[in-house]
């Protein structure tokens, strides 16, 4: 590995880490003001313009608040549980491509930390580790409400992981790959022409059922409403993080927001073309390239690809917030029945139909 490659690697890791850490305060702000917008209230609007500094105040409060642990907890597991929740959340992003490739001094770099052979399987396997943070927290808290919360979360995660995996099998069959980089670049092709508008070969147009299944199960995997049974304030007080306060509680919140970011990035990459330019961006790119501001014209394209990716991810994160403040919570048996009796058979059917269509040469 040359020094240039090493530097680029560190730059890429830096971009991803900084981006993920930045989502947390932004989502804190968006979730509060967004919920207020939907419920026709004002929300926290006192700190700074539009209440933008509220997140900073929250962070300062979390850091300086006394870090107390109740006497009845299992100290070791109580302490490591937030870390177990937050570290896998960061790790998952390693295989997601956030821009195309750039040629620099003869070497081509992919804007992706690791282009693993197993691609999306790595995402699933690391994401499935996140449930241990919740289980550990609930168990170590030595509290019935917490334990119930973590029991619910383990049952829910296992059930919906099946659908999550199955919903992508069709997509992998169409694109003939499990590598996220391959899937993202394959979506740049044109599916068909609608008049003069080119419809891109995005996953959502090829696999609409797979997309819906993936979207629903991702909500269950990230423990967001309408599937936030592990927290369920009205029944379990706060579920698995009931006994947590100050920075430790903040870490659980961080894990949730970062999981949301990763889930949105996966939706964008698998079904909405990933880093492929948004429709009107290709015109902008050629205009900016004509200005000749940068020595390397590829750089402009990469920047706009990154911007397209960020816009796609941000819209899906807004969708998460939107759903949270729109839909009521499911009952637990409804959740289980829905997962096993509706989503799972639909996922199997989707694989079958996709296989048939590929066999017939339609896809």
């Amino acid at each position: 590995m040359s020094t240039l490659e090493q530097t680029l690697m560190f730059i890429k890791i830096g971009i991803v880490l900084a981006g993920l850490l930045a989502t947390v305060p932004i989502m804190l702000f968006v979730e509060r003001r967004g919920s207020a917008l939907m419920q026709n209230r004002l929300g926290p609007n006192r700190m700074g313009p539009f209440g933008l500094f509220q997140a900073a105040c929250d962070v300062i409060k979390f850091i300086f608040k006394e870090d107390r642990a109740p006497a009845h907890v299992n100290k070791f597991y109580y302490t490591i549980a937030p870390w177990v929740a937050v570290i896998p959340a960061f790790m998952t992003f390693a295989v997601i491509p956030f821009a195309g490739s750039l040629s620099l001094e003869g070497t081509t770099t992919q804007f992706q930390i690791a282009n693993l052979d197993v691609g999306v399987l790595y995402c699933f396997s690391i994401a499935s580790l996140g449930v241990y943070g919740i289980i550990m927290a609930g168990w170590a808290s030595n509290n019935h409400y917490s334990l119930l919360g973590s029991l619910r979360s383990s049952a829910q995660m296992i059930s919906y992981e099946l659908t999550l995996g199955l919903s992508l099998v069709g997509l992998m069959m169409v694109f003939q790959s499990v590598k996220l980089g391959d899937i993202a670049s394959a979506q740049g092709e044109t599916l068909f022409m609608l008049g003069s508008i080119a419809i891109p070969k995005w996953g959502v147009f090829i696999q609409p059922v797979g997309f819906l299944l993936f979207l629903v199960s991702v909500f269950a995997e990230t423990n967001r409403l309408p599937f936030d049974l592990p927290e369920g304030e009205s029944e379990l007080i706060a579920g698995y993080h009931l006994e947590y306060g100050s920075m430790r509680f903040a870490m659980f919140m961080m894990a949730e927001f970062i999981n949301m970011a990763v889930a949105s990035a996966l939706i964008a990459t698998l079904f909405f073309g990933g880093w492929q330019l948004l429709p009107f961006f290709s015109i902008v790119v050629s205009k900016v390239q004509a200005l000749d501001l940068f020595p390397n014209p590829g750089l402009v394209e990469v920047l706009f690809q990154g911007l397209s990716f960020v816009i796609k991810v941000a819209s899906w994160m807004w969708f998460f917030v939107w759903v949270r403040w729109t839909l009521p919570r499911f009952r637990f048996d409804q959740l289980m029945n829905f997962g096993w009796k509706v989503l799972f058979p639909l996922g199997l059917l989707n694989v079958l139909v996709t296989g048939f269509l590929i066999y017939k040469g339609v896809l």
């Binding site: 597991y77 693993l116 052979d117 197993v118 399987l121 790595y122 699933f124 396997s125 690391i126 499935s128 580790l129 449930v131 241990y132 289980i135 550990m136 168990w139 334990l147 973590s150 029991l151 383990s154 049952a155 995660m157 296992i158 992981e161 499990v178 637990f332 048996d333 289980m336």
Partner: protein, 181 residues
């Protein structure tokens, strides 16, 4: 230049050995289960170091992500607070059996060490050959669905049989079909 793969190897093997010891010596079953999760994770890391990414991903996905979650789930439902009884006061038979088992294991280790004597030669499935065939996923899928299709399908039938049997046993005891989640 730091030898990162070697450092990773040392770290993962240490976690695997310490974790395995913790699985045995922890009094609390849930703590043992968590230690076993760490062991599985370390194994996955070792597989990844050998460029077997698919095996590593499946190791985490299946063992850590699904089976161990179920284990922990069942342990937490069955006995939350009761630690298992201490084996110090157990019978002489137990001591004899464990003695025999330990000596057999030691014998096995020594035998393998003598057989290997240094570096074990690489088999048919080298890293280069896997690359040639289009990576981990493709080469394993090709092997599974062509040469070993019969064994693969038989295994899936065995698992299906196990699922049906479990449901049959569970149904016989409970009078009503509805069970609490």
């Amino acid at each position: 230049m730091i030898d990162y793969p070697f450092l990773a190897f040392v770290a993962f093997s240490t976690i695997a050995i310490l974790g395995s010891l913790m699985v045995i010596f922890k009094k609390n079953p849930v703590a043992s289960a968590f230690a076993l999760v760490a062991v599985f994770f370390a194994f996955a890391g070792l597989y990844a170091l050998m460029s077997a990414h698919l095996v590593a991903a499946l190791q985490i996905l299946v063992y850590t992500g699904a089976i161990m979650v179920l284990f922990v789930f069942v342990i937490m439902l069955l006995n939350q607070d009761r630690p298992v009884e201490d084996f110090k006061s157990s019978s002489g038979t137990f001591k004899v059996i464990s003695g025999v088992a330990v000596s057999f294991l030691v014998f096995l280790f020594v035998k393998v060490a003598f057989l290997a004597r240094g570096i074990v030669p690489a088999g048919d499935w080298t890293v280069e050959k896997m690359e040639e065939q289009g990576g981990n996923v493709k080469s394993i899928a090709n092997a599974l669905f062509s040469d070993h299709i019969l064994q693969f399908e038989l295994t899936s039938f065995l698992l299906l049989g196990a699922i049906v049997a479990t449901i049959a046993i569970a149904k016989r005891k409970g009078s009503s079909g509805r069970t609490a989640p």
